[in-house]
C-alpha cells in the first residue's frame, strides 16, 4: 500500500428483536423511511436481514464520518447480488461525502446469529486528503438522517 493510501473501517450491531418490534409497531412507515425497495425484497422483509442492513448503514456512516447533517438512511443501500454477496451503493449526500473524502468502493459484510445482526464496512482512501479530511467542510446539503 502506498503512503498516500489508507483504510477506513466501520462496524455496528443491531438487535433483531428491536427491528421486529419496529415493524410490528409502525409497519410500512418504518420500512419505507429506512430501507429501499431492493433491501426489503432482497431479504424477504425478514427482521434479521433488515437488522443486518441497518447495521450496515450505521457502519457506512462510521466510514463516511459526517458531522452535522447526515445522509438519509435510504441513500446508504445494501445491494444483494445473485451470488449472495452484498455491496454498498451510495447516493445523494452519502455519495458526496464519499467522493469528497477520496473514498473508493465501500465493501460490506453482513451477519446475524442468535438475535443479533452485525455488519462491517471497509473503504479504501485513494488519496492522502482522507487522513486530513475535515468533515465539517462537507456540510452542504440540508438532507440528513437520524
Amino acid at each position: 500500500m502506498s503512503s498516500g493510501t489508507s483504510i477506513r473501517v466501520g462496524t455496528d450491531l443491531v438487535m433483531v428483536g428491536q427491528v421486529a418490534d419496529s415493524i410490528a409497531c409502525f409497519g410500512d412507515r418504518y420500512l419505507r423511511r429506512v430501507y429501499t425497495e431492493h433491501e426489503i425484497d432482497s431479504c424477504g422483509g425478514a427482521s434479521a436481514g433488515l437488522a443486518a442492513r441497518f447495521a450496515a448503514k450505521e457502519a457506512a456512516l462510521k466510514v463516511l464520518r459526517p458531522t452535522g447533517y447526515r445522509p438519509q438512511w435510504r441513500s446508504l443501500e445494501v445491494r444483494r447480488h445473485d451470488g449472495g454477496w452484498c455491496s454498498m451503493s451510495l447516493s445523494g449526500y452519502a455519495a458526496e461525502l464519499a467522493s469528497q473524502a477520496g473514498l473508493g468502493e465501500l465493501a460490506v459484510s453482513l451477519t446475524h446469529e442468535e438475535g443479533i445482526a452485525g455488519a462491517v464496512v471497509v473503504a479504501l482512501c485513494q488519496d492522502d486528503p482522507c487522513r486530513e479530511h475535515n468533515a465539517g467542510d462537507l456540510v452542504s446539503e440540508s438532507a440528513g438522517a437520524l
Binding site: V14, Q18, V19, C25, R70
Partner: protein, 79 residues
C-alpha cells in the same frame, strides 16, 4: 407537549435510565438512545402530533434533546 414527548421517549427511546432523569437540554444520544431507537421516536412523534418530519429535519440535531424535539414540533405544528 413536553409530557407527550417524554412519554414517547420512555416508550420508544430504549434508554438504559429513567427518562424523567434526563434534563430538557441533555443529549439524548449520549443518554443512551441509539440511532435505530431514534427512528422509532420520530415515527411515534409523527403519530402523536399528526405531522411528518420533512427530510430536511431528519438529522440527529432535531432529536438530540427534549428541547430540540419541542422546537422542531412547534415549527411543524405551529403550536
Amino acid at each position: 407537549m413536553d409530557e407527550k414527548i417524554r412519554s414517547i421517549l420512555s416508550e420508544h427511546g430504549r434508554f438504559p435510565i429513567d427518562v424523567a432523569t434526563i434534563g430538557d437540554d441533555e443529549d439524548l444520544f449520549a443518554a443512551g438512545m441509539t440511532s435505530h431507537a431514534s427512528v422509532n421516536v420520530m415515527l411515534a412523534l409523527e403519530e402523536e402530533f399528526d405531522t411528518e418530519f420533512p427530510e430536511s429535519m431528519l438529522n440527529k440535531s432535531t432529536f438530540e434533546s427534549v428541547t430540540a424535539i419541542r422546537t422542531a414540533l412547534a415549527g411543524l405544528t405551529g403550536s
